[in-house]
Amino acid sequence: MSRDPLRYYPRAWRDRYGEEMRALIEDDLDGRAPTRRYLARLAVSGIRERVRASGLAGDSTARARRWAGSSTVLYAWVALCAAGGSFAKSAEHFRSALPVDERLAPSLAYDVVVAGALAGGIMIAAGVAVALPGFAAAARRGAAPAIGRAVVRAAAATVSLAAGTLGLAAWAHHLDAAQRNGANGAYSAAFVAWALAGVVTLALWAKVSTRAARATLSDRALRVESRLAVGVTAAAVVVSVASGWWWAEMASRAPAFLTGSAGASILDARAVGTLGLMALAIVAAGYGVARIASARA
């Protein structure tokens, strides 16, 4: 066979079962060349094993399901942060656009968004705190997973983001409110690039966290992470629902604040993009929670 018939299997699986399975394939074929169908069946089996090993689908072990479910929720939170950035930009100084007697409902909605985001952020930080001792212990034993390259990438992205933040802040200082909110095309493009860089940086740190935690989390710590992931999902739902509420309130009370015209609605492009991304994040987090729940079955 010119190409490895087990190339679709995960590496860890090949390390454990690869040699004996190759021997089985040789015995099974008895000198005949494998047919395309035979190779296709092996490829399908390998891909299934790969998906199963990831914990994202199939009859994975309870530990793999908890890990995959918790990781999915973490990435969903990163997506929610991206949408949250768009929300925060849209809501900048919104109270000043409202008459005093119209502020209660939008302010309440905004405060719920902030409270939900804070609660989710605290749970994410708690998750990191739960994961650190196991990783530190593994590092002391010399058994920490090889995440050096991932850490370097995330750190480089963080430094770039910090530099970008300082540059953008300095630039914004010389612009008026209208220029900062879309009138200056170059600034808007730079702001979008900065926001994307922020999302990429968060995603890179999420990757570092999940790779570091996978091999070093104890079963007990993983259960705690799973519970925190359920809490983070609940916080994501609160943030998303309250964001929709805020948008609806502002569209009815101060439409000009959202789009600069009197005809704004909750179906404005930015609202659809932001709330749509939040909805996707909730769907992803919900799938993660379902994987965690399936570990108990």
Binding site: E20, A23, L24, P34, R41, S45, G46, R48
Partner: protein, 126 residues
């Protein structure tokens, strides 16, 4: 592999726990077949496939066979022995024997019930 072989290759195992009933049809759950084969002694992959073909009339493909072996080993129902010339034999564990007994009892209940109902239906029709 003969083209006709594909007609009786069985699907991949879905049994993932000792408390879960086999889900594949006609009692051809690869996990049950493997445990049945190993209940009479250790075997490596090819010997397992040949033995299963001889007593069950189904041929497990390498992907199906090793998918089931992976799960059974994770569940502690079988254990690996030292390999010999790249071929690693497996043997059933005590937990594996219990799981097999439970699976066979479930299958037996279905067989008994199906047989009784079929007999009643046949008697009613004649």
């Amino acid at each position: 592999m003969r083209a006709s072989d594909s007609n009786y290759y069985v699907s991949r195992s879905k049994v993932s726990g000792v408390t879960r009933a086999p889900r594949s049809s006609y009692g051809h759950d690869p996990s049950v077949l493997i445990l049945t084969s190993l209940s009479s002694g250790p075997r490596h992959g090819h010997a397992l496939a040949q033995d299963i073909e001889s007593f069950a009339g189904v041929r497990l493909g390498p992907g199906t066979l090793y998918g089931a072996i992976t799960r059974l080993e994770e569940l502690g129902l079988i254990e690996a022995l030292e390999p010999s010339d790249r071929r690693r034999p497996y043997q059933i564990t005590a937990a594996g024997r219990d799981a097999l007994a439970s699976a066979l009892a479930r299958l037996r209940r279905v067989v008994d019930e199906g047989t009784a109902r079929l007999a009643a239906a046949t008697a009613g029709a004649s």
